[in-house]
Symmetry: C2
Subunit: 324 residues, 2 copies
């Protein structure tokens, strides 16, 4: 990378304005996180993304930045945590110029405003390989109120937020493997490039949901994690999966993709479980957080996670989570 001002120029000019209180304008070796009220704890998570693997190299830099941030905020939301800040490591290539970085930073700034968070530090290095990014997100939650994966009970309802399959369709579209109406194309590609982490819904589910996680590898795979950690099985109905109008129309044209909402990744919606007597409280949490929530099935005894279409079991298939 050859950037005017070098690493320290980039940090001082572009990144320092993003610094949170306690990050000392990024001038020091580390940052101090704010003090929490009694009973609150820090929740931490970290995800990495590689150009060509987790995003398309020619995706707009601001959207790459925002996706990186949002996939991590989605993990916090799945635990019921409220985001506070993040640390960022970037490995830039010889082609990464200051303009690219400026647009990347503009994306971070936009989402810092959206989510009310700040930058607590990180590192900038160069790489001869593809551009690589990693981000550590820091959030807070009541120490005794974390949403976990291991609390689902037979008889619990299964819910998902938002709509499923949009991002997987958007990726196919961006790769030239799908054609839809222009307005649907814009919607679906945006759903791939810019997830909507459920930062309001997650914390609203604390004390109600028995298990939760975000959907990054595909609904069945991620529901499988809940089932495995909880020692239960699950049954969901394809017809109950919430689909956007764009996805619905795309799938009418392409019936071969009908199961994409079950297996396609990158949804960054929440899948969670709750006892049937809490249906009203789930509805209230959805309303309160301005997030659509759909009931899609129920938790069973056993260890099989089964999807049904028209009441008949779909053939079991390899779930999507071996993503090396």
């Amino acid at each position: 990378m050859t950037i005017e001002g070098g690493e320290f120029g980039v940090i001082a000019d572009l990144l320092a304005p993003l610094a949170a209180d306690g990050a000392f304008d990024l001038t020091d070796d580390a940052a101090l996180l704010p003090e929490l009220p009694p009973g609150q704890g820090w929740v931490v998570t970290k995800d990495a993304m590689i150009a060509g693997v987790h995003f398309l190299p020619d995706d707009p830099p601001d959207l790459i930045a925002r996706k990186l941030l949002r996939v991590n905020l989605s993990d916090l939301a799945a635990m019921g945590a409220v985001p506070v800040g993040y640390l960022l490591a970037t490995a830039w290539t010889a082609e990464t110029d200051r303009d690219w970085i400026s647009r990347f930073v503009a994306g971070l700034a936009a989402d810092q405003a959206t989510y009310g968070i700040g930058l607590y530090g990180g590192d900038t290095v160069s790489t001869p390989g593809p551009l690589g990014l990693s981000l550590t997100a820091l959030g807070t939650a009541a120490r005794d109120g974390l949403l976990r994966r291991n609390g689902a009970q037979p008889g619990d309802d299964i819910y998902v937020s938002g709509t499923l399959g949009d991002a997987a369709l958007g990726l196919r579209l961006l790769q030239g493997d799908l054609a839809v109406e222009p307005e649907h194309a814009a919607f679906l590609s945006r759903r791939y490039r810019l997830p909507e982490p459920r930062c309001a819904l997650g914390p609203a589910l604390v004390g109600i949901a028995t298990a939760a996680q975000d959907i990054s590898d595909g609904l069945l795979a991620d529901l499988g994690h809940i089932a495995r950690q909880s020692g239960v099985g699950a049954e969901i109905h394809l017809e109950l999966l919430p689909l956007s109008v764009a996805a619905r129309e795309a799938l009418v044209e392409r019936p071969d993709l009908a199961q994409l909402p079950l297996h396609g990744g990158d949804d960054y919606e929440l899948v969670f479980t709750a006892a049937p007597e809490n249906r009203d409280r789930i509805s209230a949490a959805a309303r309160q957080s301005g997030t659509a929530v759909s009931r899609i099935g129920r938790i069973l005894a056993g260890e099989t996670v089964q999807a049904l279409a028209a009441g008949r079991p779909l053939p079991a298939r390899k779930t999507g989570w071996q993503h090396f």
Copy 2:
């Protein structure tokens, strides 16, 4: 990467045993950090390393892991923080096999025991480029006791821990650009591959040192950060720099490298400042932490960071910190 068991196999088999309390055996989306006593705060830092840039691709995997961890612990030490844990992101290549990862994990396990820390989560991805790593270190410090870079005052003494230049000599040795006695070779290459973060000294300097930072880019460059942040100048004496026997003998053979202890990077020692009336307290902190400490110069008014040899200013040269 083709690893038996895939990503989840690696996490469950190799990484889960490293998990700290609060990391839920790495089964969930995020981890909960432990509660701190009143007045203590979390200190966070993040560094990335790329094969071929920050370490040699054929370095032993356990030492790569330990260096990654230790360069981050060095940042915590520079702030006076005590390490507690870390998050890890790894981007493995097609050549990274399970044996390599096992040895990498063994290095993490060894240093977890050395420093009394645990793993709080992270991510494993694949990359078509060089192996890439990033680590977020989490430590604790008294909220009002952080060591910063901006507190140096004219008249303060300047100190460094340990010895300087060993790692830079070790790198030249490993690259075939230097020849020394075998026992010195082992020492110098180890100093490059396995830094000794000053985790005991850093916290012992709280309330005594007026400024501190770790030396990763070279003494003059990093002392330059302290000078810039504090709005002061500095003067150090080449003859006062602490050198190992191995470095001393290497530099006798190679007078062209005499200034390497000023500019060579990767020392991961601390450079810090303190008022002259605190010399006894600095000695006590050094003894208490079992760390050698040397006084090498003093802080001046102005903004020039000057090294002197035999009392005469060395020619000013570009400091080593533009390391893209």
